[in-house]
Amino acid sequence: MVSTVAFLSFAAKPDTGDTAWVLASAALVLLMTPGLAFFYGGMVRGKNVLNMLMMNFITMGLVGVLWVIVGYTLAFGDGGALVGDLNHWKLNNTSGLSGTIPVLAFVMFQAMFAIITPALFTGSIADRIKFGPFLAIITVWSLLVYSPIAHWVWSPNGWLFKLGAEDFAGGTVVHANAGAAGLALAIVLGKRKGWPREPMRPHNLPFVLLGAGLLWFGWFGFNAGSALGAGRTAALAFTTTSTATSAAMLGWVLVEKIRDGHPTTLGAASGAVAGLVAITPACAFVTPFGSIFLGLLAGGVCALATGLKFRFGYDDALDVVGVHLVGGVLGALLIGFLGSKKAGGANGLLYGGGFTQLGKQAAAVGASVVYSFVATLVIALIVKAIFKGLRVSEEVEVEGLDINLHAETAYETLTGGSVRASVSAAAPKADAEVSA
């Protein structure tokens, strides 16, 4: 995201090309959340897949509404160094332009970021959280953690923006942030029954790859759309995004081949996502060639980082920490090494820029991660106290969240009338309701 000066010029006409690109990008980023839902949904066990999909989709509903009412203004309202003011609540004063595009295009592009960030940490809390507390956490978190950090980093008034920290498309605001929150939630929730002793294999790997494909596709909007226009910067961000992702896939799969003996599809998908995460903050600040190294490193490091949870004993079910926290921090820091003036950023260590930018990057990502972790911990504990516990009962965990929380089963067996389909339809309440 380049500076988001909400320069309002009511009379001026938007640039149609820039607007077309940002609207298309917003749609692409919207698609990432369903993509994520399948990426995660395929990884959980079949008895919990609907719950995983539901957590992601309901976030599209909940944050989608919250954002236009108050989330946007807290993030991008003028305000001070820490948080925006309420000038734009209900999207007041948004009929002008922001740079060359309508403010509303910017609002929507940003809305999709606000939606996917909490959706990212559904991976760490998989398989065990009650639905009510989940909704409460998402709501509070979006306003008290996401909006402020977005303000710090992306608002011209934000203290990290002023510090000169670079985060083109959200390595810190989105990924490191979601990763730190995911860690805090995994700790508060505790381990799933049986973890890590009992097997919890992905129930549908094709879905994981479908999700990865949709994420990759949508991420071009995420990163190249953050140029907020269709020009050279967007083309560069598009290029480094593509290259780093490809390289990271190779890096992850290589680690697997050496360590485990086999290259896996889960590894290829995970590596791609790790690359997308790590290039996010850096995509307009490094050269295409630099992005290959960034990607390879991200793929390899994140592949190893997924083992951390076994070592430290926190049940981060689908590796939000290993991929998003580690990848997000890595990408943010690598700007300090690989950043290149020629590409569009400050020169990093390897390009003769010294330690200056690296220091700023470390400060920004460090502050964001610490705030996110602590604030999430506090939010989770308060919600836990209010709802008398965050977790479903042991029986529900064993039987599956889908039938218990959502009264649904994901898959019906083929032989229509048989076995699972052996149900007796009661007079649908829908009817009674309507006739009443």
């Binding site: 067996t413 083929l414 032989t415 229509g416 009338g417 048989s418 076995v419 052996s422 007796s424």
Partner: protein, 112 residues
């Protein structure tokens, strides 16, 4: 003790279950199966290549019963599963030495 095993058409399961319940059977176990017999299967075509699928979806029902009830249970199943068309299935009875209820360890008829 006997175990009555029935291979029936899938869409007849609900009727069989209801009939057995009405008769007084308290439990049963069901699994998916495929049958081969007089009932012909169907043909599938993929990009011009024809495949004959000769297995037909069936459901397998197992009911543990007291010796005295075995013949009646068989009849209840036959009646409720019958459509009169080829492929309605088979019901057979096998002797059982003993039954135990896992929950309580009860044996024999008490275990049903």
């Amino acid at each position: 003790m006997k175990i009555v095993v029935a291979i029936i058409k899938p869409h007849k399961l609900d009727e069989v279950k209801a009939a057995l319940e009405a008769f007084g059977v308290q439990g049963l176990t069901v699994s998916e199966a495929s049958g081969y017999g007089r009932q012909r299967g169907h043909t599938e075509v993929y990009r011009g290549a024809e495949y004959t699928v000769d297995l037909v979806p069936k459901v397998r029902v197992e009911v543990l019963v007291d010796d005295a009830d075995a013949a009646d249970v068989v009849e209840v199943i036959v009646k409720s599963a019958q459509t009169g068309r080829i492929g309605d299935g088979k019901v057979w009875t096998v002797p059982v030495d003993d039954v135990v209820r896992v929950r309580t360890g009860e044996h024999g008829v008490d275990a049903l």
